[in-house]
C-alpha cells in the first residue's frame, strides 16, 4: 500500500468516524432544550461561514474573484425573488462563466 493510499484510507475513515460520533449522542442530551436550540442554529453558523470562506479565503489569505462574487450575487438575487435552487445554481455558475469569458 502506498503512502497516498494510506492517507486516503485514514482520512476517509476518520471523516466517517466524526459523522458517527455526531449521531451517537445519548437521548438524554437530545431532549435537553439547550441542545435543541444549538441544533437549530448550528447549520446557520456553518453555512454562513462556508459561504464567507468560499468567497474570501484564498489559501489562508484574503482574496476574492469579482466574477465569482458577481455570479453568487446574481444567485442571491434569484433567491430573493423566490426562484428554485436549480435556477440559483445555474445563474450563479452561468454569470461567473460569462463574465470570465469576457473579462
Amino acid at each position: 500500500m502506498t503512502a497516498t493510499w494510506a492517507t486516503i484510507v485514514v482520512a476517509a475513515v476518520g471523516c466517517y468516524a466524526l459523522k458517527l460520533a455526531g449521531v451517537s449522542l445519548p437521548e438524554s442530551a437530545l431532549d435537553d432544550p439547550r441542545v435543541q436550540r444549538i441544533a437549530g442554529l448550528l447549520p446557520v453558523s456553518m453555512l454562513t461561514a462556508l459561504v464567507v470562506t468560499d468567497l474570501f479565503d484564498a489559501n489562508g489569505r484574503y482574496g476574492a474573484d469579482w466574477r465569482t462574487l458577481a455570479g453568487v450575487g446574481a444567485g442571491a438575487v434569484a433567491l430573493r425573488l423566490g426562484k428554485s435552487l436549480v435556477v440559483v445554481f445555474l445563474l450563479a455558475i452561468g454569470v461567473t462563466a460569462a463574465l470570465r469569458s469576457i473579462a
Binding site: A3, T4, W5, A6, T7, I8, A11, A12, G14, C15, Y16, L18, K19, L20, A21, G22, V23, L25, E27, L30, Q36, R37, I38, A39, G40, L41, L42, P43, V44, S45, M46, L47, T48, A49, L50, V51, V52, D54, L55, F56, D57, G60, R61, D65, T68, G71, V72, G75, A76, L79, L85, V88, F89, L91, A92, I93, G94, T96, A97, R100
Partner: protein, 246 residues
Amino acid sequence: MSAPFTPSVADSSDASAGETFAQRRAITRAAAGIGLYAGAFGLTFGAVSVASGLSIAQTAVLSAVMFTGASQFALVGILGAGGSPMTGLSAAFLLGLRNAFYGVPVTHILRPRALSRLWTAHFVIDETTAMAVAQPTPRGRRYAFWATGLILFVLWNAGTLAGALIGSGIDTAALGLDAAAPAIFLALLAPQLPRDRAPAVALGSAVVALALIPVAPAGVPVIAAAGVAIAAALAPDRRRPGTNDR
C-alpha cells in the same frame, strides 16, 4: 421505524396525504436541484483530484467513502501541492468536524438506533442537514434528509468518476463552477434565517469566519463559527414572557 430507503410508502393513508404529497414533491424537486449541483461539483472534484496526482481509483474512493466535499478538496489540494500527509489529514478532519456538529440536529430528527446509526452517519453533511432542518413537519424532515442524501450520493460519485476520467479536459473555472458551492450554501441558508436569533447568528458567524481566514488553518474559521451558534443558543432570553407571542 420503517426502513429509511422506502420513505414514500409509510404514510400514504394519512388524512393529510395530499398535503404530504405536495410537500414531498417540493422537497424532491429541491433535492434534484442539489443533485444537479452535486454532479457538477463532483465533476470539478474528479478533475482537480487527478490533476493533483491521485489515481482515478483513489479519487473514486474518496467520494464514495469520505463523502464530504470540503474535506476532499482540502486533502487533494494539500497532497497535490506537495504537503505532508499529516497536514492533509488535519485539514480534512477540521473541515469534517462540522459533520459531527450536524449530528445534533440530525439525531434529533431521525432518532437512529443501534445499527441504523452506521448508515445514517454516512449521509450527515451540509446539504442533507440543511434540507432536513428547513422542513416544517417531522415527516418532511426525515424525507428531506434521505431524498437529498441518496440523490446527492449517486450524483456526487457519478460526477467524480466522470471528472476523473475526463481529467484535464475540463476547465472548471471557465464553466464558473467555483460559484456553485457558495451559491448552494446561500440557498440552503436562506430558508433558515427566519428562525429565532438566526440573523444575528449568521452575522456573528460571518464576522468570526472572516476574521480568522488569515490567521487560522483551513477548516478552523468554519468550526470557530459554531461557537457563535452555541453562545446564541445558551444566551438567556432577554424578552419578557408574554412579549414574544407575535
